[in-house]
Symmetry: C2
DNA sequence: TTGAAAGCGATACCAC
DNA sequence: GTGGTATCGCTTTCAA
C-alpha cells in the first residue's frame, strides 16, 4: 500500500482526488505522496472507488443483437462512432455489453436476475429487435438510459433519441408536391414498429394537409407489392410513389421497367429509408444522422446522470432529405 | 438489502454464485432467497464484487488513437468485430477506453499516474501510433494484455498477435519467382516500424534464398520513388516490383503508364499491404485476417488470465495472399 | 493539517 | 446447513 511508502495514509486519497481539498495539503506532504506513488507505480483501484462513489465514469452500450452479423457496417458502426467521440470528449469510458448473448444472436439485459448494465453509470441502448419488456423493467428500476430510436412501452416513459422519420416523410411529400405531384401511392413494409409508424404518420399528415390523393393498398395499410398493383399503377394516374424501403423501391423499379415506364420521367419514386453506397440507383431518400445521434445519446445519458430527478425526455433529431435521381416534375396527368 | 427481505444473509451470496456450494443450501432456503431477489429486483453490485474477487469478466480495448477519425472503417472495425465476437462467446464484456484522450487524438494508458485499464481483467491494445513507453510500463506492472501487431520494447517481452508479414512477403516473392521473375525491385516506405521490418526481412530472405537479383534503392534501404528511378527501371531488366504500400504502387503504375510500360505484361507489381475496395486496380497483395486476429487476441488475453504464471508468448497469424491482376508471367529478359 | 475509523456491497472462512 | 464477520481499497467525516 502506497500509504506505507510515505508516512501519511488517507492523505493519499486527498492528493489523488486533487481538486477541492488540495489546498488543505501542504506542498511538502503532497510531493512526498506523489513521489511514493511514482516509486511504487501505485494505481488506485477502480472498483473500490466506484464502490464508494457510486460513479464509474463508465457509459454502457447495449445492442440487442451482435454488431458483427450486421455487415452493413454503417448501421451500428456510425452510431458507435458518435458515441465514442462524445465519450472521449466527456472523459467517459465505454462498456460494450457483449457477455449477455443468449446464444441465438439476441442479447438480453437481464440474465438470471442480474443486470450487467449496472456496471456502467448509465447506458445507451440500441438495436432493431429491442426487447420491450427489458426496456420497461430497466425503466422501472430507475436505471439511467436512453434508447436510440423510438420505442413505446405502455406504462413506461422510455427516453429515446429519435430520428425524425415523421418530419422526413412530410419533407419528402412536400418536395414531391412541390414538383407538381398530386396523385401518390405508398409502398408499405410488413413491419409494425415505431419507426414505420412515424413514417406513416408523417406521410398521412402531409397527404391530407396538401389535399393529395392516395388510393394505394399501402396507404390503406396493406404491405407488400404485387404485380397486379404495379399494373394498376401504370394504368392509373399516379405520378409519385413513396416507398418505405429501398428493397420495395427496387422491386417497383424493376416492375416499372418491365412495363416500359420510366423513372423519374413517368413516375417519381422516393424512399423513406437511409440509402447506402452500392445501390443501383441514387434514390431520393432520407439520411439518418447516425453519428450525431450517437453523440446526442451520450449527452442525454450524462444529462440524466447530472440531473437524476428531472423526468427524462425523448429527443427528436432531424433527418436531412437526400436528393437523388428518382424524383422529377410530374408529367401531365393521364386521363 | 435483499438479505433483509428473506431471513438469511450471506446465504444470498451462496445462492447467487450458485455453483459449488449450492448443494450446501437446502432447496427451501434457496427458493426463499430467489423470491426475495425477484421481489426487490435485486442486482448484485459489480464494483463490490470485483473488489473482492479481483475479476470482472471485463476485457479492455485500448486504441492509441480514436477509432472514428480512421474513416477506413475496415482498419479498426474488423479487429473489433473479432474481439466482440469472441467476447460474446466467452461471456466477457468489453470496455472501450475512450476516456483517456489527450485531446490531440492520441490516447494514453497512464494519465497522471492512474491506469484506467485496471478496470478490466486484461486488455487488447492496438493502434498505429502505439506508445512503447506505456507498453513497457504496463508489462512491468504485470498487467495482462496483448498488442495487436508486433511491437518491440527493449527489456520487455510484449505479447503480441502478429500478422505474419514476413511470411506473406516470402509468399509473394515465391509467387513472382514461380511466374519466372528473376530480377526484382523493392519499393520502400519511409516508416521504420516493426511491421515494415517484418516485410523487409521476409523479402530479403526470399530474394537471397531463391538467388534473385535486386539492385533497387528500396532494397538498399532508401525509401520513396523518384522519376529517375522509374526511368532506370524501364531501361533495366527488372520484371517484378514489390511495393510496401498501395500508395507507392499507384505512383509507380502512373509513372510506368506515362512511359508506355504495361502492367503486368511488361512488369509485374505486387503490394505488401492489405488492399481495400475502391482502389483503381486489383493489386496482387496480401490480406490481413483482421477479424480472426481480433478473436485470437481475446483468446490470448483470457489465456493469460487463466494461466498467470506462464510467460506470455506472441502469436503469428498467417496472411493469405490475394491474387490480383498485376502479376503475370515474366516477359523474356531484355538485353 | 493529518490520522483514525466507519462504511460502500459482496465473498468466504469459521465457528455454531 | 447457517449466520456472524473480516476483508477487498478507497473516500470521507470527525477528532485530535
Amino acid at each position: 500500500m502506497a500509504r506505507l511508502a510515505g508516512v501519511s495514509q488517507s492523505a493519499v486519497s486527498r492528493v489523488i482526488s486533487g481538486d477541492v481539498d488540495a489546498a488543505r495539503i501542504p506542498e511538502e506532504t503532497r510531493q512526498r505522496v506523489l513521489a511514493a506513488i511514482k516509486e511504487l507505480g501505485y494505481v488506485p483501484n477502480a472498483s473500490a472507488r466506484n464502490l464508494r462513489n457510486k460513479r464509474n465514469r463508465l457509459i454502457g452500450v447495449h445492442t440487442f443483437e451482435a454488431v458483427f452479423p450486421h455487415a452493413r457496417t454503417d448501421f451500428y458502426f456510425e452510431f458507435l462512432l458518435g458515441i465514442e467521440e462524445r465519450a472521449e470528449q466527456t472523459g467517459f469510458d465505454l462498456v460494450l455489453f457483449t457477455s449477455t448473448g443468449a446464444g441465438d444472436g439476441r442479447r438480453r439485459v437481464y440474465r438470471d436476475g442480474t443486470n450487467r448494465l449496472n456496471l456502467a453509470d448509465g447506458s445507451v441502448l440500441l438495436g432493431v429487435s429491442t426487447d420491450r419488456a427489458e426496456l420497461a423493467r430497466l425503466w422501472n428500476d430507475g436505471y439511467p438510459f436512453v434508447h436510440i430510436g423510438r420505442r413505446e412501452v405502455p406504462g413506461a416513459q422510455i427516453p429515446c433519441v429519435i430520428p425524425d422519420y415523421r418530419g422526413a416523410a412530410i419533407g419528402i411529400v412536400d418536395k414531391l408536391a412541390g414538383h407538381g405531384h398530386r396523385r401518390f401511392a405508398y409502398l408499405r413494409e410488413p413491419m409494425e414498429m415505431e419507426p414505420y409508424a412515424d413514417r406513416r404518420d408523417g406521410y398521412r399528415e402531409a397527404v391530407e394537409r396538401l389535399g393529395l390523393t392516395d388510393r394505394s393498398p399501402g396507404f390503406r395499410g396493406e404491405s407488400g407489392l404485387t404485380g397486379d398493383w404495379i399494373d394498376e399503377l401504370v394504368r392509373g394516374g399516379e405520378t409519385a410513389v413513396v416507398a418505405e424501403s429501398v428493397r420495395l423501391a427496387e422491386r417497383l423499379l424493376a416492375g416499372l421497367r418491365e412495363r416500359g415506364v420510366r423513372v423519374p420521367q413517368d413516375i417519381s419514386v422516393a424512399v423513406l429509408e437511409a440509402t447506402w453506397q452500392g445501390t443501383s440507383v441514387q434514390w431520393d431518400s432520407l439520411e439518418i444522422p447516425r453519428v450525431a445521434i450517437g453523440r446526442i445519446a451520450v449527452d442525454r445519458v450524462i444529462d440524466m446522470l447530472d440531473h437524476p430527478d428531472e423526468p427524462p425526455e425523448s429527443l427528436l433529431v432531424p433527418c436531412p432529405i437526400v436528393p437523388g435521381t428518382t424524383v422529377a416534375a410530374a408529367r401531365e396527368e393521364r386521363p
